[in-house]
Symmetry: C2
Subunit: 768 residues, 2 copies
């Protein structure tokens, strides 16, 4: 069934599934998930097990499974596990007759809900109602309210507890399982293989309506369960609440003790109280982050869905990375990629700078890992990990994909040639600084990162004496199908940019904070002379320029000489649909077909290219792009906006915003790797399309600017921004534009609307 047709919304604050479709089980498990940035709990059903892709992924638990070279986050035992048996028949969506089926994700409140009426025969049946959430106020806590009503007299049996038999992509992470029962709580204490991390999962329940007649505890080798029995008359209801706490020794000192305390306290407060606090936290998030779209309910709910998914993927409790699949599964190792800076960071920079600060501080915290990586590869300075976990050491394995035709592992070079990650980190820092004006961050953390990245670039460039220019050799740009290229447009421009920011930080500090500058230079281990190296390279680095005739920028040296074929024609050369298209011998390698276009990425990030160049490049690269990356639609939407291709911009907005919800990308396996889960960057990209694309928002040194182009299908957009320390309310309609500076602001801000500039004092508003 087409997912799109199986969904509805009533208030545009929730998504509701009409029927259960077992074929979409992997995808809906991700789509209906709950989370809080510490853990992600998939939107699966309580009675499900590992084979159904149940997962509770917890951040900061990186570990290599037994015998694996892959560091990934642990999927922890399922503390919400609950099976209901009616006359010994398991209540499940896979069996029996289901009516009044309802699975919903409440985006406003971060709740997963299920209702259904289940019958296996005339003699047995039950009405089920479950709600659960991952608390936004105590990130260790999952809470559930589970209720069922007998449709016939009969015996009803519950098996609820902690299921330790988990789905794990790269193998077993736990070398020991210690189940226990203490003070009416069930617990499972685990030790991870590689890191020896102690993880505790503790659960407790309390009955709110009816109590069991029989109750027994079962301890197995990997779990502990309560067997509860009820004899019910038709119409009688049983309701219980469950509180689970998940803790680990990478965050807290005594995981078991703390988890037990949190569960006991949670049960004392009760489900409703926990939920109320949780909702308040979500309220305050949405107050700043909601985008209201007038005149298009589908776009409205899609937008909220994507902001929701981006948010629950973000660890707001600590300086930790946003995983490329958030916490929706173990894919991409729960680690940050360049998407964190280029797709997810902007939303936070302009709405919740405190979260943005966590993220950029995370890059400072991982400087030692980035320096180790540089050193291991024969460079110096900071070469950030392509796949970055807690320490910033490179997590991306040498062999990622498998050649499905031969079964051999493929040696990709994401980990050593995709150097744009380091300038991307600088891009993020500058983005944060320009939005927040947090000079203190630059002084304490930012400048050191900028200098270390600049040093890395010094160690990475080559000088062509005969051409009097610096070059970057052997790169992998965002278009990952073409490894081993020279002078990639995206990477070379970003390198110049990163060096200029280092020079800016150097010069500004030299003027304002010479002592701190000297301190940082000492820490980095360089002399003032280093600044000359940076400026020499920034000045002389080769930037592929638009062709004087066609205006097209060549993606990398020699790209135009590759076979010029379109993705659909190329696809016919596949021998196996699961083949990886890229390096070393995939079908795209010797062609101009791109996974995503580096030049489009470049144009999406930077201003200063003429309309002519924007249009020419968009029109050249768009038809050659396979969109094999979930990052692709949102940049295409952004650049289509800039290039005045408004219809296509909207088409790409729809693609980007439905990648997960409508399963638009459809790829779960590629090159032998499972690639399911939520595309967190695409979710972040949706915010960018609307605010930067449709509303035409842009931060400038001296203020902010707007140049909106509302999609035809919409009437208007309203949203808030918090930028340059000013909270603003903005409404954009087809024929009007309204900005209000919040009364609480302390400074005025300059608003540029298509060239008209207004300085807005606190409390004032302006219409254009």
């Amino acid at each position: 069934m087409n997912l799109e047709n199986n969904l509805r919304t009533t208030t545009q604050w929730e998504i509701i599934e009409n029927t259960f479709d077992p074929d979409q089980l992997v995808t809906t498990g991700s789509n209906f998930m709950i989370g809080n940035g510490y853990m992600g709990y998939r939107g699966t059903f309580e009675e499900w097990e590992a084979k159904d892709y149940v997962a509770c992924i917890v951040t900061d638990t990186w570990d290599k499974a037994e015998g694996s070279q892959w560091s990934e986050l642990c999927n922890v035992p399922n503390g919400l596990f609950t099976q209901l048996f009616v006359n010994d028949k398991l209540v499940t969506v896979f069996d029996g007759e289901i009516t009044d089926y309802y699975r919903a994700l409440d985006l406003r409140n971060g709740l997963n809900q299920r209702k259904m009426r289940w019958r296996s025969s005339e003699e047995d049946g039950v009405q089920l109602e479950v709600e659960k959430f991952a608390s936004k106020t105590n990130h260790h806590v999952l809470a559930m309210r589970y209720s069922f009503t007998a449709l016939q007299d009969g015996t009803y049996r519950l098996n609820t507890g902690i299921d330790g038999k988990v789905w794990s992509i790269k193998g077993e992470h736990f070398k020991s399982y210690t189940p226990f029962e203490e003070d009416s709580l069930l617990g499972l204490s685990l030790k991870t293989y590689e890191q020896d991390t102690e993880i505790a999962v503790v659960e407790g329940i309390a009955f709110l309506e009816n109590t069991p007649e029989k109750s027994e505890i079962t301890i197995t080798d990997k779990g502990c369960f309560r067997e509860l029995e009820f004899t019910l008359k038709k119409g009688e209801t049983v309701t219980f609440q469950k509180v689970v706490s998940i803790t680990h020794s990478n965050e807290v000192q005594h995981p078991i003790k703390l988890a037990k305390e949190e569960v006991s306290q949670g049960l004392q407060y009760g489900y409703d109280t926990l939920k109320k606090e949780h909702q308040q936290s979500w309220d305050s998030f949405w107050d700043r982050s909601d985008i209201q779209i007038q005149g298009n309910p589908e776009a409205q709910v899609l937008t909220r869905f994507n902001i929701y998914q981006a948010f629950i993927a973000t660890p707001t409790h600590a300086n930790l990375p946003i995983g490329a699949r958030g916490l929706s599964c173990q894919v991409y190792q729960g680690a940050a990629f360049w998407d964190q800076e280029t797709y997810n960071l902007p939303m936070y920079c302009y709405t919740h700078p405190e979260i943005a600060k966590n993220l950029v501080t995370y890059r400072f915290d991982t400087l030692p890992g980035a320096k180790r990586k540089a050193q291991n590869l024969g460079y110096y300075g900071a070469f950030y990990a392509w796949t970055s976990g807690k320490t910033g050491d490179e997590l991306f394995p040498d062999y990622f994909f498998t050649d499905v035709l031969t079964g051999r592992k493929i040696r990709n070079h994401f980990n050593c040639w995709q150097i744009h990650i380091s300038p991307d980190v600088v891009y993020g820092i500058w983005l944060y600084y320009e939005a927040s004006l947090d000079w203190d961050f630059i002084l304490k953390h930012g400048a050191e990162v900028l200098f270390e990245v600049a040093q890395f670039l010094v160690s990475r460039v080559h000088f062509k004496k005969d051409k009097d220019r610096f070059e970057l050799i052997r790169l992998l740009g965002p278009d990952e199908y073409h490894e081993n290229v020279d002078n990639d447009a995206y990477t070379n421009y970003l390198t110049k940019y990163a060096l200029e920011k280092a020079i800016w930080a150097f010069d500004t500090m030299k003027e304002k904070e010479p002592n701190r500058l000297q301190e940082i230079l000492n820490t980095v281990g360089i002399e003032e002379q280093a600044r000359n190296d940076w400026s020499e390279i920034a000045e002389l680095i080769y930037l592929p320029k638009p062709d004087p005739k066609t205006r097209v920028i060549e993606q990398f040296d020699g790209y135009f000489t590759l076979e010029d074929i379109r993705p659909d024609a190329l696809r016919k050369r596949l021998i196996d649909p699961g083949e990886y298209w890229g390096w070393p011998n995939g079908i795209a390698v010797n062609t101009q077909v791109l996974k995503q276009a580096d030049v489009i990425q470049l144009l999406a990030l930077f201003d200063g290219f003429s309309d002519e160049v924007l249009t020419a490049n968009y029109e050249y690269y768009e038809p050659r792009t396979e969109h094999g990356s979930s990052l692709s639609p949102s940049v295409h939407a952004l650049v289509a906006c800039k290039a005045n291709h408004h219809e296509e911009a909207y088409r790409y907005f729809m693609e980007a915003s439905t990648i997960d919800l409508y399963n638009a990308s459809k790829k779960v396996m590629s090159g032998g790797s499972f690639l399911g889960g939520i595309h967190t960057a695409a979710a972040g990209g949706v915010w960018r399309i609307i605010i930067e694309g449709f509303a035409g928002f842009k931060v400038k040194t001296d203020g902010i600017a707007f140049d909106p182009a509302i999609p035809d299908a919409w009437e208007g957009i309203s949203f808030k921004l918090f930028v340059k320390q000013c909270l603003l309310e903005i409404s954009v309609y087809k024929d009007s534009f309204h900005v209000k500076s919040d009364r609480s602001n302390t400074d005025s801000i300059t608003i540029d609307f298509r060239g008209q500039q207004v300085s807005l004092v606190p409390g004032a508003a302006v219409d254009f």
Copy 2:
């Protein structure tokens, strides 16, 4: 059957096959071939056709077959085609009973001979005797004497003429066939597809014993034949001679006219006269080129076989390349590779400098092609073709191998990353100059090549400012399994060497011939300033040095970090035995297993490495080498000599010298490509092993030196050298060493024997 056991020799001047082995048909066709550097005629039987790999490959006929992207030499129609029918039964080695079988290659006289007694039943049988040669005095001419004796009374029918249905690897080369009969001669005139080259094959016959009763001419679309009938009594013999001339419009103005004249004249002279002239020419070759090995008949005949094969592959009539498979088939396109300079040139430099001069002049003649190649790839100067035909334009195709597992073409980069070919050309020029002292060649041709190569290197290097060194990025060294490497030991050392030779030529000319220098600078289009670029790079280019601890030189940056496995263990990973091991995803790519070791190649070419370094590198690289290249055994033999591994040196000598004759390499197909034929470089390498390895011969600026180590299995070696304009006779025994300067010499020469130096005047001799 093992080929080795099927061969014998009586005078060590011939190889004789004991029985016909159809399984070895491809190989023996090459081994028993005749040729003269203009054409190669495979050692096949007269009655054979295309399916039996009959071929007559003619140099200077490069052409792309219909629909092919591959330029290759043409296989021309077989003018010696002759079938004999006894009572309508074809006399062939594939049928009937064969006795007194004898196929021989007379190395001394360049003759192919066959004798056999054939019977299909009691009623019919024939004694056959054939001899043929490719004339060394008129390179267009093939001559044959064909004789048969009736073993029973019966009807004997000959079908002899020109068979135009040829074996051609990349497809049909001839767009038109025009057969004709004129003045009792048969002819076939052809036009090639791409180049419109006119090729003429003309034949004539004359009976020496008996004449046919019936004679008829048949003209088919691709051939013309004489049908000749004889009724013979038992014991009666028929003998005829045949003369064929093969001419083409790339060499002569009127190919048909000339071919007819040559055939008529040849028939007038008669087979015996033609053969006598031919033998005289071979005599004078062997007089200078023979190496006499005392005490080991097998090594003696192997040595002569290899010198023979190297010689018949060499176009001595013009400045044309030596093909990597000579003229034994179309494989490797009849074109020169780096082997020409490093494996084949040395023998000529030190025995027949006039032939060496042809070869180095060929590199001058192809400068325009090398300059076009550089320009096409974004460089300047001369980037010599990896696969070099007449014009020096690159003939190596982008897609050479096929991935046998997927059927997809493999994009190799032999044509664009294997840059050492340009320094190799310089190596050849210097070799020739140092041996011949032909300063005139440097002035007229050599210096321009040196300067253009230096300019190419200027355009190819990158400068690492932070390391204050030049680097060479993205290389493919002689070890072709590892493409895309940086700072390849062989390439970097050779680059420095090539630049130093350009500087030497510049400085010497500036002193001696400033006007000519200015002329060349003008031709190249550079200023005197260019010399500074060369010397800056020569001084600062990074040379991978022996590791201070292990003394091993790393083949390229990061080689030591690759998986350290041995070839035999690695081979087990093959899915298909025909897989290509190298780029991009072959089994050797991510391992230390080499096709041939670049460092060994380096040590083979250059002096100045300590014994410690020689031994350490030999011992490190030898076990990691797969010897997937026929070039590998001879350099291993050479370096084993230098590294005092004498037993291994001899083992590698035997490998190198038997690659073809014993079919030691056994590879006819690799990566989907037919790779049969004679390994011309290996043949040239055998000379080098004996003279440079076992006799320890070395040319020095002020003379020549010897440091011999005769193999245990031999008693001694005698040979001639013509070096520094002196003809020398040398005999090396285990306990004595003898050099005699020929009376005809005009100058004395300094001989260094393990440090003892003697100046030898003309006519004098010395014993050490």
